[in-house]
Symmetry: C2
Subunit: 225 residues, 2 copies
DNA sequence: GTCTATAGATCGATAGAC
DNA sequence: GTCTATCGATCTATAGAC
């Protein structure tokens, strides 16, 4: 299957013989770059800052990734890989309540485990996605189209209250990613330094309760109590 | 009243006698800066780009705003002014359905009329809000605290399904701002070049239907049909 | 008030020693 | 493979002519 993430990887990853040292260094650099890109955006990030954070000289960065843009592409490819994963896990069953609950749960879990990746992706989109357009625009359209047909079928057979399916997906994306992207603001509102695992549990309960309830669906067994 | 927006203004706006020319030039510069900051973030924006967009020489920018940071502060102050406005309009009535519906409607309207302002604010928060912390953190905590008490009272008197009030606010913020901040992605998903006014109407209907429904509330009269 | 010129720092990227 | 040195471009900010 030809995914956006694979096309990005093909375009930007060096993918040489991948010796152990190279693999380790690349991972180390990408981790550092993720922090910097999340904090300062693409233009605002300097290779110097990435190099300092990774504990390597600047030219080492440019040895593994042939340009700043190549490094950014590698970071985005890693992120898209996880996004696609969440995508594919989302709709495998056909019970609306179970599918939607699982999707909310997995997206919030992702916000908890990968807040920086979510932020880099968010900044790219907010800035108009200048680097992702040709890798993502068509994929997203097709993905939403397929899922919308499934949801419309649920609605037509009376298993779910009628809503615009695509906008329901936007609602789930936005409300779950919020805990990663706007985590700073959420933490301020709750009077904390950082969000706790319990905050994410309350988020899962609140979002699933309101959204499933608003669709006329019952919470799955495992989500109650 | 001492608002975050006023404190920002006091700190960064020159606020000289405000002759007509100065007023016009400042507004022109802020409009140009808003576009650049939304597209490239704080670090990624150059005064040169702002000056070019405003059609003025670079040093003119630094005459009106004494530094890049001062210009950014002025842009944020303008944005916070609008945010506070939406804040204050939100809770004046005491019918839960009416209050929440109005809030959703006004936030989506704001996403439609001021997408760039929303994006600048979003990028600032995603980056950890390094420039806003001392102006906003305490205000947000107090604001949420007050509203949470109102909502908790609604819940305790059985007028609304029990949910975590602060998280309900996060849900409304995230889902409505999504149409401004992630407008590019939403447009891709809908197969459009740009979002239309009708898209925002569908968004209002979908979000209010799901959220109010999930809280066990009826849509207000004017929202039906 | 408005502009040109430029200082001083930092940027991405490359050359070349080891 | 890894590092130092450095180029040319671009950045914020200031000085000073008009």
């Amino acid at each position: 299957m030809d995914t956006a993430q694979q096309r990005l990887n093909d375009a930007f990853r060096t993918r040489k013989k991948a010796g152990r040292i190279r693999q380790q260094n690349e991972a180390n650099i990408i981790r550092a770059a993720e922090v910097e890109f999340a904090q300062n955006g693409y233009k605002g990030t300097s290779l110097n800052a990435v190099a300092d954070r990774a504990g390597l000289p600047k030219s080492n960065i440019l040895y593994y990734f042939k340009s700043k843009f190549g490094l950014y592409g590698a970071v985005l490819a890693d992120i898209l890989e996880m996004w696609n994963q969440a995508f594919n896990d989302a709709i495998v069953d056909s019970d609306p309540a179970e599918v939607i609950y699982s999707y909310i749960e997995s997206k919030i879990q992702y916000s908890f485990t990968h807040p920086l990746a979510s932020r880099v992706f968010a900044m790219e989109i907010i800035q108009g996605a200048p680097h992702l357009e040709k890798y993502l625009a068509q994929d997203l359209y097709n993905w939403i189209e397929e899922r919308s047909q499934v949801m419309q079928a649920w609605i037509d057979s009376g298993r779910m209250k009628p809503v615009a399916p695509a906008h329901l997906v936007f609602l789930i994306w936005s409300s779950t990613q919020h805990y990663a992207d706007f985590g700073t603001q959420v933490a301020w509102c709750l009077g904390r330094e950082e969000l706790t695992e319990e905050d994410f549990q309350v988020a899962t309960r609140t979002l699933s309760s309101v959204i499933l309830g608003g669709l006329g669906l019952e919470l799955p067994e495992r989500a109650r109590g």
